[in-house]
């Protein structure tokens, strides 16, 4: 594009690539910790997912006749794959990552016309597609096996687990706290019993429990989210509304029946809520752009997550909740616009009574 002749001839020096890079930077602590927690298989899966996304993005761009450099270097594809990888079971087989990365980029993003054009969050779209297509692989969780720890697989064993499917994987599996409590509830076991051996709030906060890579350390994710808020990459509306709604609903239900409904702390710390509230629901492309719209969007995500977790068929509802609210984004943006200067909420020009202007009544 040539230099526009209209102003401004001044720019705040922010760039799309810079924004993506800062989001990834904010993800580094939580990701590094999670990779350490789950060892080599997790590292391989993570790299495969990213590699698959970059490769398919390059392929799509070439097919569409678009320049590769600017679009590959903006980091958006990498970030999508990163978020997807964080939502996968850490020891999932290699093809989960490869298929997921390709699905996210090709069907989640490029078929809509590339960056900025997609209606749905590509990472969540890919995750849901994988979950529905391959429910077994997508729900096999592993208890943390810290890298270089006693029982952890080495480099070669890690390769075997990722590419051949480790034989002993079942012995290491552990359910997530949300999954476990849900299963037990269906068997008539109350939370007082079912949670007693799996629920440790401190472990969830620090990330010492079973789950996907991004479901581990709520604390590190929170810190990353606060970094994004401080850098003004994201706004407070979506995370606050989302966390607040989940906590509120969980609190009310917990008061009604503590044996059936887990307390707010568990809901906020466990599962993918923290990742979702700060990194996934805040995806700029698929969330509303006005502050009021973002509040509604965040509250909607939070309510849906709670409903799916509590009464739905899946123990975790982040991906479904985000996708449903993504679909509502154009509607939210259409109706919840900011008030325009000199106009009332309905868009009609403001009128003042004479006394508001310091005049005598005429």
């Amino acid at each position: 594009m040539t230099t526009p002749i209209s102003g401004p001839h001044y720019h705040g020096r922010r760039s799309v690539g810079g924004i993506m890079a800062q989001v990834m930077l904010a993800l580094v602590p939580a990701t590094a910790f999670a990779l350490w927690q789950f060892g080599w298989p997790a590292v391989f899966l993570f790299l495969l997912t990213l590699g698959s996304a970059v490769f398919t993005e390059a392929l799509s761009l070439r097919l569409a006749g678009k320049p590769l450099r600017p679009f590959l270097l903006d980091g958006s594809g990498l970030l999508t794959a990163w978020l997807l990888a964080l939502s996968l079971p850490p020891w999932a087989p290699w093809w989960i990552g490869v298929v997921g990365g390709a699905f996210a980029i090709v069907l989640g993003k490029q078929v809509f016309g590339g960056i900025g054009q997609n209606l749905f969050n590509p990472a969540m779209l890919a995750r849901v597609a994988l979950l529905i297509s391959f429910p077994v692989q997508m729900t096999r969780w592993t208890v943390p096996q810290p890298l270089f720890g006693a029982g952890a697989p080495g480099f070669v064993d890690g390769l075997k687990i990722t590419f051949l499917g480790g034989a002993d994987i079942d012995t290491l599996s552990g359910a997530t706290v949300l999954g476990h409590s849900k299963t037990e509830l269906t068997r008539g076991v109350g939370l007082d019993v079912s949670l007693s051996d799996v629920y440790a709030p401190l472990d969830h906060l620090l990330g010492l429990s079973a789950g996907s890579l991004g479901e581990t350390s709520a604390l590190l994710l929170l810190l990353g989210g606060l970094f994004l808020l401080a850098r003004r990459i994201i706004t407070w509306q979506i995370p606050a509304a989302m966390l607040g709604t989940v906590a509120l609903l969980a609190g009310v239900m917990h008061l009604i029946d503590p044996l059936r409904y887990a307390d707010p702390l568990l809901h906020v710390l466990a599962g993918g809520l923290m990742l979702g509230a700060f990194f996934i629901a805040t995806d700029p492309v698929t969330s509303p752009s006005s502050g009021l719209g973002q509040l509604v969007f965040g509250a909607g995500c939070g309510a849906l997550i709670y409903v799916i977790r509590t009464w739905g068929g899946f123990p975790e509802g982040l991906a479904f909740a985000v996708l449903i609210m993504n679909a509502a984004t154009p509607l939210i943006d259409h109706y919840l616009r900011p008030r325009v200067y000199g106009r009332n909420r309905r868009g009609a020009p403001l009128t003042y009574a004479p006394e508001q202007l310091g005049r005598e009544k005429e």
Partner: protein, 485 residues
């Protein structure tokens, strides 16, 4: 004083330090002055001089034409050498009718009858004198000041708001004017107050201009009806609507005027011009211009005769490098100059020669809907949605998303991480909208003419038929009479 907050806004680096320390200097007379006949909003002025004629400084060069116009005066004494088309300070580079003046070097003022005490003058005379002096809004909008003043006398104005915001980066001409000529500016404010028969004025200055604030406060001492207020440094504070909101909490109704909420806004440089015109009878023939930017060696605030070429200013200040872009005005709302052979006009507050590192880099990429533009828009628009519609030529959709409320302040484009030229699209769409409105007026007028013609033809036909019927009846009556007789 209680201040209010307008929504959005940005804090761009001000770069005012480049020229804020430079005291106002007089620009030496150039070899030729090129004085355009249109330096204001409204109808161009009509030349009132002949080629070869000698004029004195301040003598009338061109008469105002019509209700919304302003006269133009000779910026120095000399000879009229040509009345010809010359490049206007506009990105199009299109020529407009221009008087070319060759200074005689004496810079000799015409004689003006000095008023005794202006405060003894009938108020309507102030507006009259301001009109005769060719004063227009000097913040850049160039609306004829007298039209605003005489409009204000029959409306209920409760506040005269003097705009010393100067929120555009780089520009320091108003800052220097307030620092160095505070008493004159304050006098101008009092004269305007006298002209609109109202007593209260608020002088609003951004709080990053502490010396200007101090000087103006000092000068305003003893005048109870004047209040100097520090407003937060926040772009676009100098925009009339945003300043009114900040100081009064009122919002100008959409599509309306400041007078509707009882406020009259004038720029500090305009107040200074009013002082000159009323106290000394001097018409507006010069103004203070900031010459700055990375490609300028000596950044200055120059008092420049109207009609001086930008090229003369740049050479007077010297280059520090190859200018990448020439601007008239600030970097946010200023216009690109096609070249430097363009004259300074009444609304020119700055000339910037920007070097490459000062300019935005990076090319436009697709919108990622980050919503930064929505957060910073001082009007409350959704620039990203507006842009989509402007891009697709969906003018009705763009109007629905507030195209006509957009200030073109450039705040959205400043923050856009995708480097989208949002303001460019909006200006384009506004142009299309204006063209469409004009086309509609034309069509309506043509339809009216056609209808009028049809109505006339019908009337004529009816009249003819009636006359024929009457004659027939008369003939029949006559025949009947004859038969009887």
């Amino acid at each position: 004083m209680k201040l209010f907050r307008f929504r959005g806004g940005i804090h761009p680096p001000t770069r005012k330090e480049l020229s804020a320390g430079a005291a106002i200097e007089t620009m030496p007379l150039p070899e030729r002055l090129y004085i355009p006949m249109q330096q204001h909003i409204g109808t161009p002025a009509e030349p009132a001089v002949k080629i070869g004629q000698h004029v004195l400084k301040g003598q009338l060069l061109a008469r105002a034409s019509g209700a919304l116009s302003a006269p133009i005066h000779a910026p120095t004494s000399g000879w009229v050498r040509a009345v010809t088309d010359f490049t206007a300070p506009h990105p199009s580079g299109l020529p407009i009718l221009t008087v070319v003046l060759e200074p005689d070097g004496k810079d000799e003022w015409d004689e003006f009858p000095l008023p005794r005490d202006p405060f003894e003058m009938p108020p309507e005379l102030i507006a009259e004198r301001v009109a005769a002096a060719g004063i227009v809004g000097m913040g850049g909008a160039t609306f004829p000041t007298a039209v605003k003043l005489s409009g204000a006398t029959n409306k209920h104005i409760h506040t005269l708001l003097i705009n010393g915001g100067e929120c555009e980066p780089y520009l320091t001409c108003d800052d220097r004017l307030m620092r160095e000529r505070a008493a004159e500016v304050i006098d101008g404010v009092r004269l305007i107050l006298h002209g609109i028969r109202w007593g209260r004025a608020i002088i609003a200055i951004e709080d990053n201009k502490s010396e200007a604030l101090a000087a103006m406060r000092e000068a305003a001492k003893g005048y109870g009806q004047l209040e100097v207020v520090a407003v937060p440094t926040l772009y676009p504070m100098g925009s009339e609507k945003q300043l009114i909101k900040t100081v009064t909490g009122l919002e100008v109704p959409a599509g309306g005027l400041a007078a509707q909420v009882g406020v009259l806004v004038q720029n500090v440089a305009t107040a200074y011009a009013v002082h000159e015109a009323i106290r000394y009878g001097r018409p507006l023939v010069r103004r203070i211009v900031t010459v700055s930017g990375g490609a300028i060696r000596d950044r200055r605030n120059l008092e420049v005769p109207i009609g001086t070429l930008v090229d003369d200013l740049l050479r007077h200040c010297g280059y520090a490098g190859e200018p990448e872009r020439l601007l008239m005005g600030g970097p946010m709302m200023g216009t690109v100059l096609p070249h430097a052979m363009v004259p300074i006009v009444k609304g020119s507050n700055g000339v910037l020669a920007l070097s490459k590192p000062e300019l935005p880099e990076g090319s436009a990429s697709p919108c990622i809907r980050c919503g930064s533009c929505v957060r910073v828009c001082p009007v409350g628009l959704m620039p990203l949605e507006l842009m989509k519609r402007a891009q697709n030529n969906d003018l009705d959709g763009a109007v629905d998303y507030g195209l006509s409320d957009c200030l073109s302040c450039g705040t959205c484009a400043y923050v856009c991480p995708a480097h989208l030229p949002l303001t460019h699209y909006f200006n384009y769409a506004k142009g299309e909208l204006a063209a469409r409105a004009q086309q509609k007026r034309k069509t309506d007028y043509t339809r009216q003419l056609v209808q009028a013609r049809l109505a006339r033809l019908e009337r004529e036909a009816k009249a003819k038929a009636e006359a024929a019927a009457r004659r027939k009846a008369e003939r029949a009556a006559k025949k009947a009479q004859e038969a009887q007789a």
